[in-house]
């Protein structure tokens, strides 16, 4: 196996805009908002950045196809900038590009920035787009909630559960996210909700009610990374957050067309997790991870992800959720910042937003929602649909720890 990137790259600084319906901002304004914070945190000059990766998944009506919009918006010094797009893992892809460049020694300091300005599209939820000339001829006009909702029917069938039981666990997940999000000043949704109101919400895609679905938001997040040696040369003497692992796993069509997958879990998450644990040197994730930021686009996704990450035994995720194992004061806090559900989900920014929370928690900067001395954090994105997806997993911790 390749050597991997463990501890080869440190995070110099991070920034994150306030997420939400940012009618006050253009996409460029959001980019500047997260970059400004990251640059101040890194305490470097903008001209010291060697290369940048720009994550923008779907909002082409604001910024267009290339990476020029990032270069223009930040007046970057004519450096290499690459636009990446890989569904909901787009922000993580931007980070992967920057981290790999630094780990390879191709760049001393690299920038990863993700943004999405969805609210100008005029859609509630994600915009409707063509799926391609052939796919449009035969694939159902599925939406994200409808596709992820199928986790529930398959999970229920596999473990012979009653839908009421599953809905209760799903409601607990949404309730937890609202509790956590209420303590996050940058979160899109900050209102606390009762489980009763979550269960009584109108149906979006059976069995997902409105409050089982994450918010669609405007926002941006940003990371500036460098080698640990460069960080020291820049005068950083204190604790450094380092990247322990970044792994990516993509469907190859077997979930969509072959019966070797039963639909009750995400195969790519299981594969990416195993690779990430190996790269980061983790053997017992439940004991060694202190917090996880997972892709809770829908409550059921978070539930099956707990099993896919090995934090719950297969078929036991719903019990663990109901017992509070992943609550703020549970064994492993999940989505302590409110998650996609309440922090919001600007597609291209989400992966970096998760890393931002991990970084913030590891440096004990998380204010009201700060966990007690966390050492290892995992972030997880699941882009696309359960039967055809892109999964990214990153693990972060303190350098040398």
């Amino acid at each position: 196996m390749a050597q991997g990137i463990r501890d080869k790259v440190a995070i110099l600084g991070m920034g994150c805009s306030r997420f939400g319906e940012r009618w006050d901002c253009s996409a460029e304004d959001l980019i500047a908002e997260s970059f400004h914070e990251a640059l101040a945190d890194a305490n470097i000059d903008r001209d010291q950045i060697d290369a940048a990766w720009f994550g923008l998944a779907m909002d082409e009506q604001n910024l267009g196809k290339s990476a020029l919009s990032l270069s223009h918006a930040l007046r970057l010094p004519n450096i290499a900038v690459t636009r990446v797009e890989n569904l909901c893992a787009t922000g993580s892809e931007a980070l992967r590009g920057a981290v790999h460049a630094v780990a390879a020694g191709a760049a001393d300091i690299a920038l990863a920035l993700g943004v999405e300005k969805l609210k100008d599209t005029g859609y509630g939820g994600l915009p409707e787009r063509s799926r391609g000339t052939f796919n449009d001829l035969w694939q159902p006009g599925a939406t994200a909630p409808g596709s992820f909702a199928q986790f529930a029917s398959a999970y229920m069938a596999r473990y012979d559960l009653k839908m009421d039981t599953l809905k209760e666990a799903m409601a607990h997940i949404s309730w937890k996210s609202h509790e956590n999000g209420s303590k996050n000043p940058k979160a899109h949704l900050r209102r606390r909700l009762s489980k009763e109101s979550i269960l009584a919400a109108p149906m979006v895609a059976y069995p997902l009610g409105l409050f089982d679905c994450c918010g669609v938001s405007d926002g941006s997040a940003c990371a500036i990374v460098a080698s640990p040696e460069m960080a020291r040369r820049l005068g950083r003497t204190g604790d450094l957050v380092s990247v322990k692992s970044i792994q990516l796993s993509l469907s190859n069509g077997s979930e969509m067309s072959h019966n070797s997958w039963d639909g009750s879990f995400a195969r790519t998450t299981r594969i990416a997790a195993q690779k990430a644990y190996r790269e980061a040197g983790i053997s017992d994730p439940l004991r060694e991870l202190d917090l996880v930021e997972v892709h809770d686009c829908f409550s059921i996704t978070e539930l099956v992800t707990m099993e896919d990450l090995g934090l719950s035994r297969p078929g036991q995720g719903y019990r663990d959720v109901l017992e509070g194992k992943f609550d703020a004061d549970g064994e492993v806090a999940s989505n302590i910042d409110g998650g996609l559900k309440c922090f919001g989900h600007p597609i291209g920014a989400s992966g970096l937003r998760m890393v931002y929370e991990a970084y913030t928690q590891l440096l004990n900067r998380a204010g009201d929602r700060q966990l007690v001395r966390p050492k290892r954090a995992l972030t997880h994105n699941l882009g696309g649909f359960p039967n055809n997806n892109v999964c990214s997993i990153s693990i972060l911790g303190m350098l040398g720890d």
């Binding site: 005029g122 149906m203 069509g253």
Partner: protein, 484 residues
Amino acid sequence: MLDTGIISIAAYLPRLRLARQAIVNANKWANPALASLAKGHRTICTHDEDSLTMGVEAGRNCMAATPGFSADLVQFASTTAPFADRANAVILAEALALPADLRCADFAGFQGCGVTALIDALENGRPTLTVAADKRVARVASAQELTLGHGAAAVATGTRNPIARFVVAHCTSVDFVDHYRAAKAQTDYLLEERWVRDEGHIKLAPAAIKAVLQKAAWQAGDADHVIIAGVGRNVARQIADLCAIAPDRLADTLDASCGETGSAHALIMLCHVLERAAPGQKILLANVAQGCQTLLLETTDAIAAWKSDHTVRQQLDSGVEDENYLRFLSFSEQIDVDWGVRAERDNRTALSAFNRHRKAVTGFIGGLCTACGARQFPKGQYCVNPECRQSDALVDEPFQHKTGTVKSYTEDWLAVTTNPPLRYGNVSFDDGGVIMMEFSDFEPGQLAVGTPVRCVFRIKDRDPRRRFHRYFWKAAPLSMMKAR
């Protein structure tokens, strides 16, 4: 010389039945006289059905009952074909996965086109599949809205072991304008009912019936079954009376739970008769439409062994009642519902891509890996089985006749559909292969993991700007067909 005749016949009635009372309730404020027609139900297409999809279902049922039948000629007759200049018969033939080496013909123009096509096929003698289907639209709150129905029928003809021998045909052609639909108009204009009856139908039909009987040297009383289509039940009785045909010989006009299905109706009535006919019986069929198209048939011994899996009676008895008049109007695009911003997406079809994948999309042909046996859709260069992934090992594998079970599902209220919620999910086929498909003919709450399904040819998507309907296959409940 071999006898030419009907080898097999099948009808297709859509599953939904609108209660006529629902139409009356919605419109009696405007026309209280409609109350006299409030009894019973009429068949209606759901959002993804049209004359072509109904025709495909009828054609499949017909072909399924005649293993080994190979058509030289495919005919599609309809006054409501989805395309004015794109051969609907060719789409039908490709949906039935027939080889390209055949002649296709569209019949249209008047309500006699279905019977005319059948007479052509019988006089021709070549192995022919004739399909007639109509999804006529009536003016809102008109009497026609209550009396019409949607349906299709398919007839396989030729010389190989017919169940009914063709005796003779006779047609009269008279431009008696009892109704008309102008080019590009959606609905008919109708003339005064009693004038139509007294000066038109009961003068035109008896003359044609007498002429056809004379050609065959039959007496009126010889016919065991008399089908008079294109007119209502009462007018049919009057015509029979004028021809000295006993009322008990008259075939059911199917108005109670079906309605008048246009160019398909005479063939649906004929199908209903043949499903119950005994060997050696004589059949007279007369269709009144701008004149009268008549033909005589005589059942053979082969009819005793012939059996339809989905009889007209079974279909009439297994409909699902609908009382939603507004939804019916929306299905026929007579009201413009606001489907929101998602429905604004441009749906232009890449016809080059469609042409490249036509066999997969229209014929539902996927792949079978000769290395590992995995079935898959779509067929790709490499096998999808993660344990195989062999290249160049896939051969064509038809999916349209397969059955499967629901593997996962949802009812999606956010997705765009003219019949919310959009129902879709993964279907696992009994002999292998998984496809994420739309479900059709399920009511909300009926889906469950493990539900058995079959495949039906339906409208996949409409392009409202360019009026190009895309068709693909959807998963429908297997139980409906079993019930039938």
